[in-house]
């Protein structure tokens, strides 16, 4: 373990160097990539990046390790491990302490110790010369029929077709069961590899098994970047940033972009909230009322407060939602504010209106930073042009690197700011949250100033001056970002944060 880790660190450093030269433009969302993220995080959280082949090897090692103890066929071990979500300890514990027959049947395999068992079909096979395959209905010599330990036998051709359909069309891997109706015995890897001949299908099956291995394993996570195919392997499960070989940085715990200071669970809630149309219903709640009788949704777009429901013809008052009749002829006034039922309806209305406004406030700012972060991609390109220009004005390559560094810092700050709004949305107001908001405001101001400096045209006569200003500003931004994050982390440790529920 130790050796592997130290190797990995060396690799990581190598990559960082390469990146500074090569990956100049396409860093956008991966603002943390330039290695300025607090170093202690990476040291605190050792991880390896594995290729697809290494993952398979890792899987095989896991199976071997268990097999040295339990001594059953490797393919059965794989099914048992899948059943226990690749928790080796749990498997061994159950294997040696609980009813083994029950364990095998729960995992949908036939116990390898039930040697005396003779399947009915096999017995039949011995007695008759040709028997019918129950899938293709052809008469087949018994030697050309095959099946699992459950005893259901079909011809080779049918098995091959069956497995191919399951693997290719339905994307099933570890959950393919025997083709017989109602039989839940699972097909093992060896059988699949033996019966399937098409290399494409074999490959797909292997991928499916590997995928389930990674998905089940808490210490493994696929790099979420499309078509990346690497897996990050950690030594323990935690919410920490990890960097894939493809340079993508993500949260090991949840797979999203690295989202400090927001917590994974709150980010998940936030993303769900932004994605689903719960806000549509919030809008409806905030801007419409229901007919008190038939509950038709009504939006009032003019006219007086005397409402007549189009659907059920009820006369009611828009203001208090009570019956219209006692209002008499005073068309524009409602003096019945204190009535119990009407008051409740109004309170609920008020509450959802406020909740909507609050959400929109945070969402706007979150979206704004996300949008700006996308624009900074372009900034990398324009800054590169500026840097070349400056090199024509008697500045050395090393002297102009401050500009790239400034854009790196800008992106980091934007990403952090973006997630501060997720954090803040769920935060309950207390003294610490006020300090947090001050920090947020300060960082936001500084970030906007830095952004402005970088947008500006740089002329040769003000070059020295602007360099000083940009450097001062990004250093300030960096330090403010650190202050903000340290404060939030301290709050997590000391449990200073209180959260709002029901959002």
């Amino acid at each position: 373990m130790f050796e592997e880790d130290s190797e990995n660190e060396v690799e990581d450093e190598d990559e960082e160097e390469e990146e500074e030269e090569d990956d100049f433009v396409d860093m956008g969302m991966d603002a943390e990539a330039s290695g300025t993220h607090p170093k202690h995080d990476e040291e605190d959280f050792p991880f390896q990046v594995l290729t697809a082949d290494e993952i398979v090897k890792h899987m095989v090692d896991c199976i071997k390790e268990v097999n040295t103890v339990v001594q059953i066929p490797a393919t059965i071990t794989r099914i048992l491990l899948t059943h226990f979500k690749w928790d080796k300890e749990k498997l061994m514990e159950c294997y040696f302490t609980e009813d083994q027959d029950k364990l095998f049947s729960d995992a949908h395999v036939v116990s390898p110790f039930r040697k005396s068992f003779t399947p009915a079909a096999a017995a039949q096979a011995a007695s008759s010369s040709e028997i019918m395959c129950e899938i293709c209905f052809l008469m087949i010599p018994p030697t050309e029929l095959t099946g699992l330990e459950c005893g259901h036998r079909f011809c080779w051709q049918c098995w091959r077709e069956y497995l191919t359909t399951k693997i290719i069309d339905e994307g099933m891997g570890q959950t393919i069961s025997c083709a017989a109706h109602g039989c839940d015995i699972l097909v093992d890897d060896q059988t699949v590899m033996y019966l399937v001949t098409d290399p494409k299908v074999k490959l797909k099956y292997q991928q499916l098994i590997t995928n389930s291995f990674v998905e089940c394993n808490r210490l493994l996570r696929w790099c979420p970047r499309p078509d990346c195919g690497h897996v990050v392997k950690a030594q323990y499960y935690d919410c920490k940033p990890v960097k894939c070989k493809c340079t993508h940085i993500f949260c090991f715990a949840c797979g999203e972009n690295w989202h400090d200071p927001a917590l994974c669970r709150l980010l998940r809630r936030w993303i769900k909230k932004c994605d689903d149309d719960s806000e549509t219903s919030n809008w409806i709640a905030a801007n419409t009322k229901e007919c008190p009788k038939c509950h038709a949704t009504i939006e009032k777009d003019g006219g007086c407060n005397h409402m007549v429901c189009k659907r059920c013809k009820l006369d009611f008052c828009w203001v208090c939602l009570g019956d219209w009749e006692p209002h008499g002829s005073s068309w524009y006034n409602c003096n019945r504010f204190d009535e119990e039922g009407a008051k409740k309806a109004r309170d609920a209305q008020e509450k959802s209106r406020h909740a909507l406004q609050r959400y929109l406030f945070y969402c706007n700012r979150y979206m704004n930073h996300m949008q700006s972060l996308k624009f900074e991609n372009k900034l990398y390109a324009s800054v590169r042009v500026k840097m070349e220009e400056m090199q024509h004005h008697n500045m050395s390559w090393i002297e102009v690197q401050f500009l790239k560094k400034a854009v790196d810092v800008l992106c980091q700050c934007r990403q952090t700011l973006m997630y501060t709004y997720v954090f803040a949305f769920y935060l309950h107001r207390n003294n610490q949250s006020i300090i947090f908001e001050e920090n947020q405001k300060d960082l936001e101001n500084a970030t906007e100033q830095l952004s402005e400096y970088l947008e500006r045209d740089i002329t040769s006569d003000m070059l020295v001056d602007i360099k000083q200003k940009v450097q001062d500003k990004y250093r300030y931004c960096e330090s403010r970002r650190k202050v903000l994050l340290d404060h939030v982390h301290e709050g997590y440790e000391k449990e200073l944060w209180e959260y709002q529920d029901g959002n």
């Binding site: 899938i135 209905f137 052809l138 259901h152």
Partner: protein
């Protein structure tokens, strides 16, 4: 079509034709053309149900990957049943979806559908209107189902009161089937049904 599928269907035909259910006229399968991809099924409404004595025609389509994927089955005969759409004839039955097994046959499918007619599953409905009626007013449901079966599946037991109500609306110039659907949906309340057709 794949070889396995054709060979299977050919052999299944023999099986269905030979089976004792066919002998008793309970189920039947026919070819629509020579391609073996499109078949016509027939099941008899099971005894002691509103469908008793009715003949229900099914459209059966055999996919390329049969028997590894289930056949696509639909009722062509209009039927009032919680798990069968009264509009399209689409069926909600587990063995026609994820519970399909390659060792199942057309015969088992037809027998399962017959069993479904005898034992609806209102908690897993295809037609929500019918399912609600089945759960809330089971008498009206049985009568409605019998009325549909007598009109569309030539079942022998008629529901004269319902026939009259449909005739009443028909005489007013409404389409017979539309009138029947509206009446069935509104628990045979003529006024509500008319309002529904006109809206």
């Amino acid at each position: 079509m794949a070889n396995i599928a054709v060979a299977r269907i050919k052999r299944e035909f023999k099986e269905v034709v030979k089976s004792e259910e066919v002998a008793k006229c309970h189920i039947k399968v026919e070819l629509v053309d020579d391609s073996f991809t499109s078949l016509r099924g027939e099941i008899l409404g099971p005894p002691d149900t509103p469908y008793e004595g009715g003949t229900f025609i099914l459209d059966i389509r055999i996919p390329e990957t049969y028997p590894f994927n289930p056949p696509k089955v639909q009722f062509l005969t209009k039927i009032w049943h919680p798990n069968i759409s009264s509009v399209t004839g689409a069926i909600c039955l587990d063995i026609l979806k994820d519970q399909w097994a390659a060792a199942m046959t057309l015969r088992t499918v037809l027998l399962s559908l017959q069993a479904l007619l005898a034992a609806p599953e209102p908690d897993d409905p295809q037609d929500a209107v019918v399912a609600r009626q089945y759960k809330e007013t089971s008498d009206i449901f049985s009568q409605t189902a019998r009325h549909w079966a007598s009109n569309y599946a030539s079942a022998p037991h008629r529901e004269p009161v319902m026939d009259d109500k449909v005739a009443q609306l028909k005489n007013m110039g409404f389409d017979e089937h539309k009138a029947r659907v509206a009446l069935s949906t509104h628990n045979w309340d003529i006024e509500q049904a008319m309002e529904n057709i006109l809206s």
